[in-house]
């Protein structure tokens, strides 16, 4: 069973960090994963997205016309990827930075003000981890041990931020 994901936002929002953490969590769960990143010439503020495929079998459909899940951390990402969600797929939106509108009626929407939740936690940089927590709740099968290992691998040069991010992840997980 193959599932695919797009995570999108602007440079500095931690799109590639949670993309890489998600891919690592799947890997640690002994699943097949492919992880592709895409970013513009500019870093902070520019459009950034990544695409992840996950399956219990070898992955051969490397590029997808449409995906099961999109996480959009801002309005531009919502606008760009709304058409990429499969029928009955899910659009997870940071409603702090995107309007609550539902232009398609054949997909599911989850609007949560991730940036505000992160600010309440005391660090707006945790926006991405709260979103990852929400996704984990929907997928429903991450081992916390693998989540911790995933964060440790990706944030190995920022160890002081690991626990904070895991707390944010858990907050997202328990939001819905």
């Amino acid at each position: 069973m193959i599932k695919n994901f797009i995570i999108s936002g602007s440079g500095g929002q931690g799109v590639l960090s949670i993309g890489s953490i998600l891919a690592n969590i799947f890997m640690l769960d002994d699943l097949f994963v492919t992880y592709c990143t895409c970013y513009g010439a500019e870093m902070r503020g520019g459009a950034v997205n990544c695409e992840i495929n996950m399956s219990d079998k070898e992955i051969n459909t490397l590029q997808n016309e449409k995906v099961d899940f999109v996480i959009a951390l801002n309005q531009a990402s919502f606008d760009k990827f709304i058409s990429k969600v499969k029928e009955n797929g899910t659009m997870i939106v940071n409603s702090s930075l995107a309007k609550i509108v539902k232009p398609r009626d054949d997909i599911k929407y989850i609007f949560i003000p991730f940036s505000e939740e992160a600010t309440k936690l005391g660090d707006i940089r945790m926006t991405n981890s709260i979103a990852l927590g929400v996704l984990s709740k929907i997928l429903g099968n991450f081992k916390l041990e693998n989540v911790k290992k995933g964060y440790e691998k990706v944030l190995s040069s920022k160890t002081e931020l690991i626990q904070k991010n895991i707390d944010a992840y858990l907050l997202g997980h328990n939001l819905k």
């Binding site: 690592n24 994963v33 492919t34 590029q63 691998k153």
Partner: protein
């Protein structure tokens, strides 16, 4: 050692190169392979190995030739339009019998083109743009795991045959991350003490040069090279088959395109059609014999490439005249997707044949 890690193809290549003893890297940055040099620039300094960011690609590969003549395991990496600049040196390396590893992570051409995905360098790699009767061994990985495994193999083949070897990588694979296991280098070290230039103390002097004004010696030398290529063609042909035995239809593809071809074969299986996928792992030497054998049973072939039909001519040469071969491809831009290939094949089934989509 056996722990899985999530790595980009470019990093997997760089790590494997270090693992199998690459002691000199010369390169000039170009997307989509820059991470190879970036990774090595830090690691080689740590290990006190030679890393040179050269002033141009021409300089980089000629530095590789020089270092190789002293017995060092050398590598350079680049991309399409810049690999074009290196063709003269490849001919010299073949003539001088120097083991050179060249990694080409492809982008779109012709000319400078752009960083879009493409498999447009099949001809450049397998036919070559240098002068004279020379050949370059070419390996083509289809996964990040193979990027690492084949890096070991290209170093081994370069040493074994004293010949330039190209690792031809899709830009998609260079940039995509997958979980892989970095294994130990499975290949033996090759003794090079009989030919390297390491100082003539206590032995007769040696020369490595390609200039040869004596016609009979030049003829003899070129024939000797030719014998070596025949040996390579006999020993080193490698390929992968996916449900090819008794297939009614076979898709031929190389690199990561072969994986998308597998997903197409899986789709047709659910429709009750018997599709196989044939993937050359060595582009030179090309697996003509095995493909010819398969074409005794299979009568319809679809050749799928991210170019306008470069491997196609090798498939045509291999497949028997009683079989039909249809080409599906596009030169650049977004990678061909499963549903686009299915649509093209369905169109062919309905009698609407176009050479590219």
């Amino acid at each position: 050692m056996s722990e899985k890690v999530l790595l980009k193809g470019n990093i997997a290549i760089a790590k494997a190169a270090l693992n199998c003893g690459c002691s000199c890297y010369f390169g000039y940055p170009i997307t989509p392979q820059t991470e190879i040099g970036e990774y090595l620039s830090a690691k080689m300094q740590e290990k006190k190995l030679a890393y040179v960011c050269a002033e141009s690609e021409v300089a980089a590969i000629n530095m590789a030739l020089g270092a190789s003549s002293t017995g060092a395991k050398v590598m350079t990496s680049s991309s399409s339009c810049a690999v074009a600049l290196m063709q003269e040196a490849l001919s010299y390396a073949a003539s001088d019998e120097l083991p050179i590893v060249l990694v080409n992570v492809m982008r779109a051409g012709p000319g400078q083109g752009y960083i879009f995905p493409s498999q447009g360098d099949y001809n450049q790699a397998t036919v070559g743009g240098g002068n004279g009767d020379y050949k370059t061994i070419v390996l083509s990985p289809s996964s990040v795991q193979e990027c690492a495994d084949m890096t070991y193999k290209v170093f081994y083949l370069a040493q074994k045959y004293r010949n330039p070897v190209i690792l031809l990588v899709d830009g998609l694979l260079g940039q995509m991350a997958e979980p892989i296991t970095i294994k130990d280098n499975p290949y033996p070290n090759i003794d090079n003490s009989s030919w390297i230039l390491n100082g003539a103390k206590n032995r007769a002097s040696r020369k490595i040069h390609s200039l040869e004004p004596n016609p009979s010696i030049l003829e003899e030398r070129t024939l000797k090279l030719h014998q070596k290529y025949l040996e390579i063609e006999k020993n080193e042909v490698d390929w992968e088959e996916y449900n090819c035995e008794n297939a009614d239809y076979i898709i031929t593809a190389f690199g990561s395109m072969a994986r998308i071809a597998k997903s197409v074969a899986d789709y047709y299986k659910t429709k009750g059609l018997n599709f196989g996928v044939f993937r050359p792992k060595t582009l030179y030497p090309f697996p003509y014999d095995r493909l010819r054998e398969l074409s005794k049973k299979t009568k319809i072939f679809f050749d799928v490439e991210m170019n306008l039909g470069q491997m196609h001519k090798d498939v045509c040469q291999a497949v028997s005249q009683n079989s039909q071969i249809f080409f599906i491809g596009k030169p650049a831009g977004e990678w061909l997707k499963q549903d686009e290939i299915i649509k093209a094949i369905d169109n062919i089934f309905e009698g609407q044949y176009a050479t590219s989509i």
